[in-house]
Amino acid sequence: MPNPRRNPEIIWRIERRRRDEVLRALEAGEDVGDSGTVLLIEKGTMHQLNLVGGMIWERCDGTRDPAQIAAELAVEFAVERGELQADVDEFVKDLTARGWLLDA
């Protein structure tokens, strides 16, 4: 799969304070659900990405392929590698279909 790259038309930022809260809650074993940690603005509409989605998004800078992204996330999360890879692949496929990610 080619290296995914964020569409430069999309304005985004990491909501750092929120992300820290979500990470703290996760460490405490709480359910963080889909709490948004990355904010995207696309043509005036706002969207949010959850913790994992946000971490994948941050890494979609055109320099990494999905396998590398999954490998980096594997360091952060105690989740089975195959499962992580499937999450990354699905995320990239979905956001590419929306035009939010482009092939590098």
Binding site: I11, R13, I14, E15, R16, R17, R18, G36, L39, I41, M46, Q48
Partner: protein, 333 residues
């Protein structure tokens, strides 16, 4: 809806008044009587550093007239290089071809020109500046020629509320992609001249019903409103990022000396961006907190639209009553 600060660690937009100086004296202007120390370029760049560090994505320069300051281009280029998206609103007088090129080179994402009427004499009279209209229209053409996205702004008032369609046609003819039909604010000269310029609540309702119908049928032009009171109209379904006024929630305003106010029309300083801790202002300011948690008061209590309208424009309520929670004086309910 969760608390705004749970979702947003900083506003999305800073409306930035670099200077209250202007070459015009418009009848509706909020800022003609304002005076304020202006900062040197180095301090303005320090402000950009704070905005970049807080990840504020958009800066919109307003005023006063932004082009009055020679360092506008340098500042905008600096902000662009830091990843911010820069736009501005201008009366167009100083925006010749050379200025348009410099705006493009500085990375401006869009530039808005204020035009109140398609009648040149009416526009010039309203703006107290003979010859303003042709220069404003020429500014749109210069922007188009150099490939900078242009927008057009009109403050809706008694002089143009029946003629907004003509303004849309003017925009089309000059390559404008988006038209802002701003609600009339009762601040500064807008407050003094409000008897002559402001519409009655019923007239506002009629204007919005008509303008929303035109917007629904228009595909070649984006038409934008910034008036929360339209949320009470039947069938109005547009979902903004937040309910009610966006001031203090999605946007803040900077004065020339770095003081922060919730918006340009609310003269309450909540802190200074170079002197105070920004997070403390954003998360803890009692004024911002009060604006984000308005309480239904007077006729708003019991109004079925309150959940969407939140009492309408907070600046207008505050200007006329001194209380954020009072109903917007434009409300027709």
């Amino acid at each position: 809806m969760p608390d705004i600060t749970e979702m947003f660690s900083a506003p999305l937009t800073f409306n930035w008044t670099l200077s209250y100086r202007c070459n015009f004296v418009c009848e509706h202007c909020y800022s003609r009587d304002e005076e304020c120390e202006e900062l040197p370029t180095a301090d303005l760049k320090r402000i950009v550093d704070v905005l970049a560090e807080k990840q504020v994505p958009f800066i919109n320069f307003g005023g006063g007239e932004p082009l009055i300051r020679d360092d506008l281009f340098e500042l905008a280029a600096y902000a662009t290089q830091k990843g911010l998206n820069v736009s501005m609103n201008s009366n167009g007088w100083l925006l010749d071809r050379a200025a348009a090129e410099r705006l493009g080179a500085a990375g401006f994402k869009s530039v808005g020109i204020s035009i109140d009427s398609i009648d040149p004499l009416l526009h010039d009279d309203f703006r107290n500046m003979p010859g303003a209209w042709p220069r404003a229209v020429a500014a749109l053409d210069h922007l188009q020629a150099v490939g900078v996205r242009s927008t057009m702004s009109a403050v809706i008032s008694r002089i143009n509320h029946h003629a907004f369609r003509d303004l849309l046609d003017l925009a089309r003819a000059h390559g404008v992609g988006q038209v802002y039909l701003h609600n009339f604010k009762c601040s500064g000269r807008g407050f003094k001249n409000r008897q002559e310029l402001d519409l009655s609540p019923e007239e506002w309702r009629a204007f919005y019903v008509e303008a929303l119908a035109v917007k629904a049928q228009t595909t070649d032009l984006k038409i934008s409103f910034d008036d929360p009171v339209i949320a009470s109209l039947p069938g109005y379904e547009e979902q903004g990022l937040v309910k009610g006024s966006s001031c203090g929630k999605l946007s803040l305003h900077l004065r020339p000396n770095g003081d922060i106010t919730p918006c340009g029309f609310i003269p309450l300083v909540v802190g200074n961006i170079l002197k105070d801790d920004f997070d403390a202002i954003w998360f803890d300011s009692p004024v911002l907190k009060a604006m984000r948690a308005k309480e239904a008061t007077g006729k708003c209590a019991g109004c079925s639209a309150f959940a969407d309208c939140l009492g309408g424009c907070t600046a207008r309520a505050f200007a006329t009553t001194g209380d954020f929670n009072q109903p917007d004086p434009h409300c027709w309910k």
